[in-house]
């Protein structure tokens, strides 16, 4: 038992979040329980409004839960922390900084300056294949390149847990597939605990070891599916019978939720 508990990176227990909307109190999350193991890749799917982004923001420390317990490494989460990194859907690059300076930002915040910071930043820029663009400003990059920079920046902070809020949601299908593959490769090389939100069932399945299905109003966990497909995975994995079987299973449950929301 003790060994098992040490393996748990993030512990979410009975988390509830309510806020005041225009028409009164809205329950965004109600009784969410989830344990994420060290170096595990967990993906979350659910209809919009199911509170998945709220949950991510709570994990990031940008929001406080109304009630419930959340711990990371056994310690309660209080505000943002260096052990947790976030990749946002809107990239959130600083437009006045070059690619290199953007990736150096978290290093500077840690007090690492000058050449040392540049060296570390370049390593991560190389990881996302953007060496040629290190002196470019974000406005000169495509959406996919911007998100690569954001991923490099999150990695440069060297967090233990990477929280990703629909990071590929704004990209075209081709770029999205490519970035999924890159993320898989990176994760296999440099393992981190990943909490990845998406509305795309294919994406949830190709990336995750477990897929968490959330239901809406109030947001809670409806089901958790173990993805027993071994890594390394690639685009061909999407054609395998097991993948399609799981996809059907998850899709039907998510679809039910969509219908529920439309009522």
């Amino acid at each position: 038992m003790a060994g098992k508990e040490r393996d748990i990176k993030v512990h979410i227990e009975n988390v509830k979040k309510t806020y005041m909307g225009r028409t009164g109190e809205v329950v965004a999350l109600n009784g969410v329980n989830l344990d994420i193991k060290d170096n595990e890749f967990v993906t979350v799917v659910g209809p919009s409004g199911c509170g998945k982004s709220t949950l991510l923001n709570i994990l990031a420390g940008l929001l406080e839960p109304t009630s419930g317990v959340i711990t990371c490494n056994g310690k309660p989460i209080k505000g943002t922390g260096p052990e947790r990194g976030v990749v946002f859907q809107q990239y959130a690059l600083f437009p006045w900084l070059t690619v290199l300076k953007n990736v150096m930002f978290p290093l500077n915040m840690k007090g690492i300056k000058g050449e040392e910071a540049e060296k570390i930043a370049r390593k991560y820029i190389k990881m996302v294949d953007l060496e040629k663009f290190e002196n470019h400003y974000p406005k000169e990059l495509s959406g996919g390149m911007k998100q690569r920079v954001a991923i490099a920046r999150a990695y440069a902070a060297n967090p233990e847990v990477l929280l990703m809020d629909e990071p590929f949601g704004a990209l075209d299908a081709q770029t999205r597939t490519q970035l999924q593959q890159e993320l898989l490769d990176t994760w296999e090389k440099e393992q981190k605990t990943c909490f990845f939100i998406t509305h795309d069932v294919d994406e949830a399945l190709i990336l995750g070891q477990r897929v968490v299905i959330m239901s809406a109003r109030p947001g809670r966990i409806k089901n958790i599916v173990d993805v027993d497909i071994p890594y390394p995975r690639n685009q061909e994995t999407k054609m395998s019978p097991r993948f399609l079987e799981l996809k059907n299973l998850i899709w039907s449950q998510v679809y039910q939720e969509y219908l529920e929301v439309r009522k």
């Binding site: 943002t80 260096p82 809107q90 978290p106 840690k110 406005k139």
Partner: protein, 272 residues
């Protein structure tokens, strides 16, 4: 065959637009200048408007005349001093007030309605009150320009700061930034474009308020002189002074635009 022709034509078009983009805009500027002088000349000939619009030669000849009368440089420097002082003071007050308004809701709720209220009153209307309170001379001029430029710059900077993308602040926070870092490394650079826009709009307001500011019993100044010349129906020097104000305005605007390109070229889009 026809296809080939079209392609060729397109090619030519591309070529010509590439080569002469700069020359083209210069040519348009020249054309517009010629058109304006043409219109001006026409106005100077038409019986109804000829008294208000002496022709270009008569107007330009007023330059040495006004210099000889010892007025031109005195007026320009007096106006520039008033505008410069009032504008600088307006900015120095507007920047912290805008930041406070964006930062603290009570400050915003108390100040903003009054800024909007006063902004819509023409300065000329409250000039007498200021003269009564501050007397004549440089002081009331500076006060009028300070008020007008403060209002426009404060509201522009404040609107800019509250519209800063919140995800940038969130991103900085999760990347380890403390409050001080967020202020210096996120909010300051993110508001720079709005500050520069405010500086540009403020300069324009400072000049358009000049007449009102110098109707406070000023001893010299471009605005004051226009009013005096009006009393003696001297339209040629009046027109000259009006054009000088325009030239000063466009020069200042060009300088600030250059500054904007230099400092905030990283922006996805600019222009307000």
């Amino acid at each position: 065959m026809a296809k080939g022709k079209i392609a060729k034509a397109e090619n030519n078009q591309k070529e010509s637009s590439r080569i002469s983009e700069k020359t083209k805009s210069r040519l348009w500027l020249l054309l517009s200048l010629v058109a304006a002088i043409g219109l001006w000349t026409l106005l100077s000939v038409l019986p109804k408007t000829s008294r208000s619009f002496p022709n270009i030669i008569v107007t330009v000849k007023q330059i040495p005349v006004m210099i000889e009368r010892g007025l031109l440089f005195k007026d320009i420097s007096s106006s520039l001093i008033s505008v410069g002082l009032g504008y600088a003071l307006g900015f120095v007050i507007a920047l912290p007030v805008a930041i406070l308004m964006a930062w603290y809701k009570p400050v915003r709720n108390i100040i903003e309605p009054w800024i909007q209220f006063i902004r819509n009153i023409p300065p000329l209307a409250y000039v007498p009150l200021i003269v009564i309170a501050a007397g004549v001379g440089r002081k009331p001029q500076v006060i009028v320009i300070t008020i007008a430029t403060f209002l426009i710059m404060c509201i522009t900077i404040y609107q800019g700061i509250i519209n800063i993308d919140e995800t940038l602040i969130k991103a900085a926070r999760v990347l380890g930034a403390k409050d001080k870092d967020i202020f210096v490394r996120v909010l300051a650079p993110a508001s720079l474009p709005f500050i520069l826009t405010a500086v540009r709009l403020g300069a324009s307001v400072a000049l358009t308020t000049l007449i009102a500011a110098e109707s406070t019993g000023a001893m010299a100044g471009l605005g004051m002189r226009i009013r005096t010349l009006n009393n003696s129906y001297e339209t040629a020097p009046m027109l000259l002074y009006i054009i000088i104000i325009g030239i000063i305005g466009i020069t200042v605007e060009k300088i600030i635009k250059l500054l904007e390109r230099k400092l905030t070229g990283w922006q996805e889009k600019r222009e307000i």
